[in-house]
């Protein structure tokens, strides 16, 4: 045995009120096997683990990295024990806590199961609140519904390499959440010239002006590192629903609230007034190329 061989960090994955979506998204990580080899997996809901869940809730073990998926409900029981006690026990000695998904980060969809009680680990939407506030320095939020597998891959690799992860004010890694979902969208040209799509199901047009797209206001790298290595919501004609932000899920997700035919919420950091002027000018251009179909499969040859 080589000298000075350090023990692998112990990884534990526990769940609150969840759909298992982050668990399954994580399984899509292309380098899952080599990443898992860097850790000792105490428990994961699906992957083969060292211990059974019964052993985990006996609270006799410790971990180095604690992953929490799902909204936190202070009254929730994992079999005979309160989830609160499970979280408290493992939070004490762990080096880091990763909240995976928007439910664990901000409350998300399952905050609505019990709006008066449920929250994320250190935020209730964007307000500081939750069971891990005292340990908030340990908490990394990976918001998203679900998380992109590469975000998990990045975070766990950085931890394994003992590198420091820089976080934004919502405790999200800056490398993953500094740019917007809009960044890299293939419909950018239509956004630029303010040409909205005429109907869902078309290759042409932007989804921001009428069809509910939140990409210009949403921190995420969905259009930079594609989903399942192949696509993204906006590339497949679906509006971005802003699932990485604390206010997810908003309502009326397939339509844009407008004011004088300009979206109520304008791209992040842009003054509304300037945007109104810019959009007004851009709209006068009437660029024929952008108003026509890109490909006409019915054309006679």
């Amino acid at each position: 045995m080589p000298l000075n061989q350090e023990a692998k960090p112990k990884l534990l994955w526990i769940q609150g009120v969840t759909c298992n979506g982050n668990t399954h998204s994580f399984l899509n990580l292309p380098y899952l096997e080599s990443l898992l080899a860097k850790y000792e997996l105490l428990y994961h809901p699906i992957l083969p683990s060292k211990y059974t869940f019964r052993r985990i809730i006996e609270l006799a073990l410790e971990c180095d990295v604690l992953i929490f998926e799902g909204a936190f409900d202070p009254l929730m029981k994992r079999h005979d024990i309160l989830l609160k006690d499970v979280l408290e026990h493992y939070s004490q000695k762990t080096r880091l806590i990763i909240s995976v998904g928007s439910c664990a980060s901000f409350g998300g969809v399952f905050k609505e199961s019990a709006p008066q009680r449920n929250s994320g680990l250190i935020f209730n939407e964007s307000d500081p609140y939750g069971p891990s506030l005292k340990q908030k320095r340990k908490v990394i939020n990976l918001s998203g519904c679900p998380i992109h597998p590469e975000w998990m891959g990045y975070t766990l690799s950085m931890i394994a390499q003992k590198r420091e992860i820089q976080l934004d004010e919502l405790h999200r890694p800056i490398e993953l959440y500094s740019s917007l979902a809009h960044h890299g969208c293939t419909r950018n040209e239509y956004f630029e010239w303010k040409v909205d799509t005429k109907n869902f199901g078309e290759k042409e047009g932007c989804l921001f002006y009428q069809h509910g797209c939140r990409a210009p206001m949403t921190h995420s790298s969905c259009n930079k590192i594609l989903w399942n290595d192949v696509s993204s919501k906006t590339r497949s004609g679906t509006p971005c629903f802003g699932c990485t932000e604390p206010d997810f899920p908003r309502s009326n997700l397939f339509s844009t609230q407008t004011n004088m035919s300009i979206p109520q919420d304008v791209p992040l950091g842009v003054s509304k007034r300037s945007y109104l002027t810019l959009a007004g000018i851009a709209k006068t251009f009437h660029i024929k190329r952008l108003e026509e179909k890109l490909i006409d499969y019915k054309r006679d040859n």
Binding site: G21, F53, M76, G201
Partner: protein
């Protein structure tokens, strides 16, 4: 004495309370402890928002929930006198992505659930390759995401069709992923060609192979699973699809299904609070899922297996595995039939003009998934979900047990736990 077993490494968690007699299961109740209130969350929201919320019922079969929602909303349009005509292209693509989700589910269940559990009961060391399940499902979800943008939690099916509008380039890419998946299945799972497996007419044909499938089959026989795990030998499929048809099967005889007979009741779980409801058809319990679907299609191999071993754990497990090649072949047909010049999405009236109820039924990986919606001026008044696991694994009384409870009776506890997992349990869906 009643003892409690915590069931982990399924979708979500469950517990089983076993009442043993002479070391055999006399009776078992099943408890799904976590409630999330999805139906209530949906109330008061714009009906289209359900397309974003319901996939979040379940991380492994959210796509089936999306399809059930879109079908329910489209049914409401129809009932409001505004019937929507979907293009064949949109129908094929929806069907294709649903099939991809079923395939990823089955691969995960095979390699991450049933094979590791089987290995615990046998001395086989060959069967320890859990990450094969993740690898295969990665390929299936890539093919899915070409059209749906992402998996899990896509919302690309909308009333009128789909949001994406693929080019030939995307169809070629999707096809190449299917070919990659077929190669994986042939090399890693079956040990022979897809066509060879699909041409099998007897379960003895597996004996010729030396592969994960044949190892699984051999071990199931060695454990006597062909003589264990019997339920009622009554099956039901309710979702309309190109790969199966709605029917009720009593042994092998098929009958029509009428939606008015579908009902739910509270489960019987005296030891622990359970949030699952049992699903019934005409006051009786039915088994759902791959065995049921393939029986309805009268697949020779499945008919042979059923004739020899009825609805045993063996039949149930082998049918779930066999549905992989069956659906792989079908998915290529769906892709090949796509006419690229058809529209992706028909124009539909604004949802705010719709006041009506609708029902959407889909065959999810584990069987029929039913969504009922009541819309008033585009807003959800009421939403109701019945999931496949509610058919297979609710909790009934000793006099009238549900299929999975019945299947566990008279077995040792270890065997019972294995048989239970043979149903492919989704606790997450069940306690929506």
């Amino acid at each position: 004495m009643i003892t409690k077993e915590i069931i982990d490494h399924i979708e979500g968690e469950a517990s089983i309370h076993f009442d043993m007699k002479d070391e055999k299961v006399d009776f078992a109740t099943v408890c799904f402890p976590h409630f999330r209130g999805m139906e209530k969350i949906l109330q008061g929201k714009n009906a289209l928002d359900a397309l974003v919320i319901t996939p979040r019922v379940c991380g492994i079969c959210g796509h089936a929930h999306l399809m059930a929602t879109v079908r329910a909303i489209e049914d409401a349009y129809k009932n409001a006198g505004k019937a929507i005509q979907l293009s064949q292209k949109a129908q094929n693509i929806r069907e294709f992505t649903l099939v991809m989700e079923i395939i990823q589910n089955h691969f995960k269940w095979l390699y991450l659930t049933i094979i590791p559990e089987l290995a615990k009961l046998t001395s086989s060391t060959r069967l320890q390759t859990p990450l094969k399940g993740a690898f295969a499902s990665q390929i299936a979800t890539k093919a899915l995401a070409i059209f749906a943008g992402q998996w899990p939690h896509s919302s690309y099916m909308i009333p009128g069709g789909i949001t994406s509008d693929p080019t030939h380039m995307e169809l070629i890419k999707a096809k190449s992923f299917i070919e990659e998946l077929v190669t994986f299945f042939e090399k890693e799972t079956a040990g022979t060609s897809l066509e060879t497996v699909l041409a099998y007419e007897s379960c003895k044909d597996f004996n010729k192979l030396d592969s994960d499938i044949s190892e699984l089959e051999k071990n199931l026989i060695a454990l006597g699973m062909q003589k264990k795990g019997f339920a009622y030998d009554r099956f039901i499929n309710i979702g309309e699809h190109s790969f199966t048809n709605p029917s009720k099967l009593l042994q092998t005889k098929g009958h029509a299904v009428h939606l008015k007979y579908i009902d739910t009741e509270d489960s019987y779980s005296p030891e622990e609070k359970s949030y699952a409801k049992n699903a019934l058809y005409n006051n009786k319990y039915y088994e759902t899922g791959p065995l049921s679907r393939l029986m309805a299609q009268r697949i020779p191999l499945i008919k042979n297996i059923h004739r020899r071993f009825q609805d045993s754990a063996y039949s149930r497990i082998m049918a779930r595995v066999f549905e992989i090649p069956y659906l792989l072949k079908h998915s290529l047909k769906l892709l090949n039939e796509i006419q690229i010049d058809e529209i992706s999405c028909a124009k539909v009236q604004d949802i705010s003009k719709i006041t009506a109820s609708g029902i959407g039924i889909v065959e999810a990986p584990r069987g029929p998934l039913i969504h009922k919606i009541e819309i008033e001026n585009g807003i959800i008044k009421e939403y109701k979900i019945i999931t496949p696991t509610q058919w297979n694994i609710g909790s009934g009384t000793k006099e009238k047990p549900m299929p999975a409870q019945k299947a566990m009776q008279t077995l040792s506890k270890e065997e019972a736990l294995f048989v239970f997992r043979g149903f492919d349990v989704c606790s997450v869906c069940t306690t929506h």
